[in-house]
Amino acid sequence: MKSYLIFLRTNLKKRKVKVDEASLKEFEKIAREVRILTLKSLTRAGSGHTGGSLSAVEILVSLYFKEMNIDVNDPSNPDRDRFVLSKGHGAPALYAVLAKKGFFPESALWTLRKLIPQPESPRGYVPSILQGHPDRKKTPGLEASTGSLGQGLSIGIGMALAGKISKRNYRVYVLMGDGELQEGEIWEAAMSASHFKLDNLCGIVDNNGLQIDGPVSSVMEIQPLADKFRAFGWNVLEIDGHSFKEIFSAFEKARNLKGAPTVIIAKTVKGKGVSIFENKVKYHGVAPTEEELKIALKELGEDAV
């Protein structure tokens, strides 16, 4: 078993793509496809969180297609890296990434948020494997159930502690929203992550600057964010959350910083990639209409709905 794991790890490492212009293009293509799947699934669901899904696409694609040591054919390998989507409302983008990665067929995306009629089943319906917010018991590839904000970092800390005491070398990644940082539990967790010296933990803040009720700065200011995390004992990296180059390089730096957890504050644009959604508070919690989807797909280079 052990030799198999070593083989797997080296194999996974070999698969990691060198970052040249050609491979950057490849990641951009995956990101575009993920946006298309995300928007289609949201429109078919008729509800869901468009803005915060689109702002996280490059981060998610970087994690699942480059940074993380995961194998879709061995999803419960104890040495796998872990990801927790603390901002659970960004689920549609994560589902699209998991589908593209092969955890389940893309067709499952069209069942997002739906009860699926199934007359022969005892209740006449079966739940979708893709719930409105992440349910790890239903969705292959998910590590935690989230949605009520503020809880994912603590779960990630538990996973990172488990890694330390079982002497496994996996890493744990937790993606948080910026509005979510208003939750008190995040700061309880931030305090404990550095106390426990969890250098196997990497937090990422999807800093798109908007929350349901408006700009984060006017609802409840969270700045100076980098100073806050530094004061809580974290390494802080600040990057453009849509630049694959910067994301890759930040993850690499984080891996090499020892003795404390690292947070990557990723400046992003809510609704990124589709002009009619970008930086609009309205699209925090609504799905695109059929009309809006057509415009979006055209911008993303796909015509067929």
């Binding site: 104890p78 159930s145 009520s148 809880q151 970092l153 990630g156 502690l161 008190g184």
Partner: protein, 315 residues
């Protein structure tokens, strides 16, 4: 060895179960109060004090469980069930994680610390979360017995323990209780008395008063598994006695009495009296004085039983 203080029994259990390397213990600055320090001394590498931060503690427990450990989380009942409620709901139970929450200092019998530290709502709060098991052992012996069952069981469990001493109920035999299984402590035919936790010895004393002073034969049930509740045992008992009294160190809303009322009203309705803390907060005082103040002593139990019999069963 029989422990008169259930949390001492919990501490001793932790020493033993700690040999299992899957066990990790977490507390929020209450290592000595909960007796989690017994584990800390032997297995410091698997012990985590998260400071005064219950929400974070529940989430960390979920994450440890996600990686194959069996976390035992411990703090006071009001902080576990109150401060950590939504983390228990989403991070632990919705996530389907195998976390055991052992909450000490439950009920008004906490005593002098007063209402802020007397968790009288925890059974109600925990019982409403889908899939959560709720256990309230009667004494130190049953505490250890049910802790073993809780560790064997794969899923979230909430166990409620008091602060102070209790009388030993299981002096000369092992408990037959289990998750979903309560038991008859005293057989009787006139009235059923259901109790849990610290109130079990008082229910037994109340039954003695009824027998000695009034010639009434009360059947006493130890309803230590509040969720899942032992429907069959409760229904079987009231089919014989025809009425039921419940008594708990918890608010009368949503606790063991409510759980029993749900069983009776939907299966075999009989006259029922729920005894517990009325719709008010606790106050400071000695535990037994508080039981008298809130009308929960053995004398009150016997009186309530007589009233129930007089008003409903034999009008």
């Amino acid at each position: 060895m029989q422990f008169r203080v259930p949390r001492e029994a919990f501490g001793e259990f932790l020493k033993e179960i700690g040999k299992d390397e899957r066990i990790v213990v977490l507390t929020a600055d209450l290592a000595s109060s909960t007796r989690a320090n017994f584990f800390q001394e032997l297995y410091p590498e698997r012990f985590f004090n998260v400071g005064v931060a219950e929400q974070n503690m529940m989430g960390i427990a979920a994450g440890l469980s996600a990686s194959g450990f069996i976390p035992i989380v411990t703090t006071f009942a009001i902080f576990a069930s109150g401060k950590g409620w939504e983390q228990i709901r989403q991070s632990i139970c919705y996530g389907g994680f195998n976390v055991k929450i052992v909450a000490t200092h439950a009920g008004i019998t906490v005593g002098e610390d007063g209402a802020t530290h007397q968790g009288i709502e925890d059974i109600a709060l925990m019982r409403t979360i889908p899939g959560m098991v709720v256990l309230v052992p009667a004494d130190g012996v049953e505490t250890i017995s049910l802790l073993k069952k809780a560790i064997e069981y794969d899923g979230p469990v909430y166990m409620r323990l008091p602060r102070g001493e209790t009388e030993i109920v299981y002096k000369d035999r092992t408990p037959n209780t289990d998750i979903g299984k309560s038991e008859v402590l005293i057989e009787g035919k006139d009235i059923t008395i259901g109790a849990c936790g610290v109130m079990v010895p008082y229910a037994i004393k109340g039954a003695s008063i009824l027998k000695e002073k009034h010639g009434i034969s009360a059947e006493v049930l130890n309803v230590s598994s509040i969720k899942p509740i032992d429907k069959e045992l409760i229904i079987k008992s009231v089919k014989k006695t025809g009425c039921m009294l419940t008594v708990e160190d918890h608010t009368i809303y949503g606790g063991m009495g409510s759980a029993i009322a749900e069983v009776l009203s939907q299966n075999f309705p009989v006259p029922l009296k729920i005894m517990g803390v009325p719709d008010e907060f606790g106050v400071s005082g000695k535990p037994y004085d508080l039981l008298k103040y809130f009308g929960l002593s053995e004398t009150h139990i016997a009186e309530s039983a007589l009233n129930l019999l007089k008003n409903f069963k034999n009008p």
